[in-house]
Symmetry: C2
Subunit: 459 residues, 2 copies
Amino acid sequence: MSQATNTFVEQNQNRFLEELKDFLRIPSISTLPEHKPDVQKAAQFVADSLKRAGIENVELIPTAGNPLVYGEWLHAPGKPTVLCYGHYDVQPPDPLELWKTPPFEPSVRDGNIYARGSADDKGQMYMHIKAVEALKAVNGTLPINLKFLVEGEEEVGGSSIAKYVAENPAKLKADAALVSDTALYAEGLPTLCIGLRGLVYMEVEATGPARDLHSGLYGGAAPNAVFGLIELLSKCKDANGVIQVPGMYDDVAPPAAAEKESWQRLPFSEADFLKNEVGSLALTGEPGYSVLERVWARPTLEVHGIAGGFTGAGAKTVIPAKAVAKVSIRLVPNQDPDKIVPAFRNFLADNAPAGIRIELRVLSAGPAIMVDPDNSIIQTAARAFSEMLGKPTVFTRSGGSIPVVGDFANHLGIPSVLMGFGLPDDGLHSPNEKYRLDNYYQGIMTIAHFFEELGAAKK
Amino acid sequence: MSQATNTFVEQNQNRFLEELKDFLRIPSISTLPEHKPDVQKAAQFVADSLKRAGIENVELIPTAGNPLVYGEWLHAPGKPTVLCYGHYDVQPPDPLELWKTPPFEPSVRDGNIYARGSADDKGQMYMHIKAVEALKAVNGTLPINLKFLVEGEEEVGGSSIAKYVAENPAKLKADAALVSDTALYAEGLPTLCIGLRGLVYMEVEATGPARDLHSGLYGGAAPNAVFGLIELLSKCKDANGVIQVPGMYDDVAPPAAAEKESWQRLPFSEADFLKNEVGSLALTGEPGYSVLERVWARPTLEVHGIAGGFTGAGAKTVIPAKAVAKVSIRLVPNQDPDKIVPAFRNFLADNAPAGIRIELRVLSAGPAIMVDPDNSIIQTAARAFSEMLGKPTVFTRSGGSIPVVGDFANHLGIPSVLMGFGLPDDGLHSPNEKYRLDNYYQGIMTIAHFFEELGAAKK
């Protein structure tokens, strides 16, 4: 562990924070077309930051969607090459009224920085750049070869990076990818994520009558698009959350006994999880599986939003003609999106209520990913992490999805080091998203240390 | 039938149309608070029109909600008194993009006037005023005593008129009310409506987690407010539309055999109804009941709108914390809202999914209403109607609700003549609402004739 690098980080904390604030002020919401210029601005911010840190050949790569930012530093012959990945786009901030301070005016309170994207993923991605800057400032050089590939469509399930990775394996050739878009399992506990669920994101639209009808004059005879959609979606899961789509569980690979056992040793309190993270009356989910199994290793189906009919203040007595819902299915190892999507489509067709037309639109689809914890670079990362935080590194999974990890595995043949410094209560995708400042600074030091260790090990 | 009155109406058609257009240009949407000034403007328009027609003691009566407009003409001693009711407020026009011409820019096409409120109820209510004007212009006096009470909260289920009727029975004393807020059963077929369904209008709100959660990190363990609401509402009806709330059908009074038989003689084609009015893949509803029975004489439950979670363009992977739906139950004779609401509330509590908090808010509640077709004023109305249109008057019901008819019955002890001139395809509450101009002019003549006949009959 290089004390000089750590000292540099400590001495530059204020500047590193102010720079991150500038980054967080850009509302680069990839889901909303009106924020297209902000998305572009965030890409340029990343490119400029890479150049200032000493990364070379920095370019904005135009795509059908939002630009990719590429850069490289390749002056460590015989040393490993790490491909640093992150995303500069963020989720929409709504519901706005629940934010204590505005989502794009970063605010520091109680040792946290509050802003949309602070943890997911601007704050984490920026650590990679600052680690490079620190190493270069202290040593005048870098211990390994580095490539950067930063995207702006992660939150929108965009396919530009997948296409680029598939078409440019030589340019992106590396020994491993580094992805900081996950969380420590608990504060101070070094954590490497070795499993991610896949995701199929869809829209389901129901059409009933040709136009909205008066519910007095037609109620009892005309089909209702909102009720039809409700009826159909309610059939997708039973009361326990077990998905009713035939074949859904056929290919599910359960975790190995040793992995399940390691999860039992993690500091997890169901009562704390319910009270401090979820905050509902009760937890839900498949009987016979622990919370961690349900979230990490079981497929789930969620309705993320629904809209249809009259939803203003007061009363309007319509039978709505149309209704639409956003629906996703999370996939676990061995489930194939190309089998799951048709199964869901058939289920909708077979169960559509009388008089209701159903249309299914697939917005994105990607399988689950597992990383081999015995890979030597993963082992080096685990060791660097342990040394930095003073505790053995734990291996966990995440119920979330980072599709690019699959692209790196499939097209570049490399594992991803999922070394994230978020915390479970960061509020990703929620109001008042935050990132712990200690983790930001410690993350920069840990990543620098990981690079040093990789450079010291024989390739 | 007074030829002179009819001639006056014919000679003044253009002016009557232009005046109606002025009325329709006022976007008096009672459901939307931002249209409060327009609602006030519409009330003033009615008051001014009454004064110009020769109605006396016209006043705007302030209420907790929107003003009532009152006026009277009481110079026919020994003759009956009719209380003319209507409403000057309208439904919201959304979805706006489906209107061929803007909802508040009246447009005449193919013998119809297109505008929000053209049939429901501005165009119909205005007929009462023009009938008075015609009779006064031709005869210098009126054949009966008249009172007007016009409200601005009908579309919002407001309670101001109910309160006013309950508190002012002496002022409003009359022999019958006249309400033109219904439709001819078919073009050219004189129709008196003698039954209206009641309505309970509610909001059902579901709360899951304390905040929106990331569906990757929590999906499988955290309850989803949107899915919880979907699950709960889907249990309210079976696939045939039979309401599953215990006790829902206990008090339902079926129509008498003679009434059911008379419905079978009405010109009704289920194929036309499906194709030209509803426009869906199929009709729905309780097996064993005809379409007219289902719509007129059976309770129904509808979800008018639902909102929750992310519904913008693209993808957001949240587990929503909140979701809300607008739900109504239509009631038929003998059903008591004071029994139905608690039954529904209990049903929601008993069936709330695990982890989901449910809140029920009742926005309005009123029972079904029946009018006795043998009442002498109803008989006079039927005769005047038959003479004007040249066919026997049919007695029908409506599946809609006009709560004030119940207030007139309960507090004033009078029947309501439900003499409406709309047509089944007028598109009430829908885009491109229209009112047939022939019906507008014929309605004015028929109402004038009804008043003349009432004046000629001995009281």
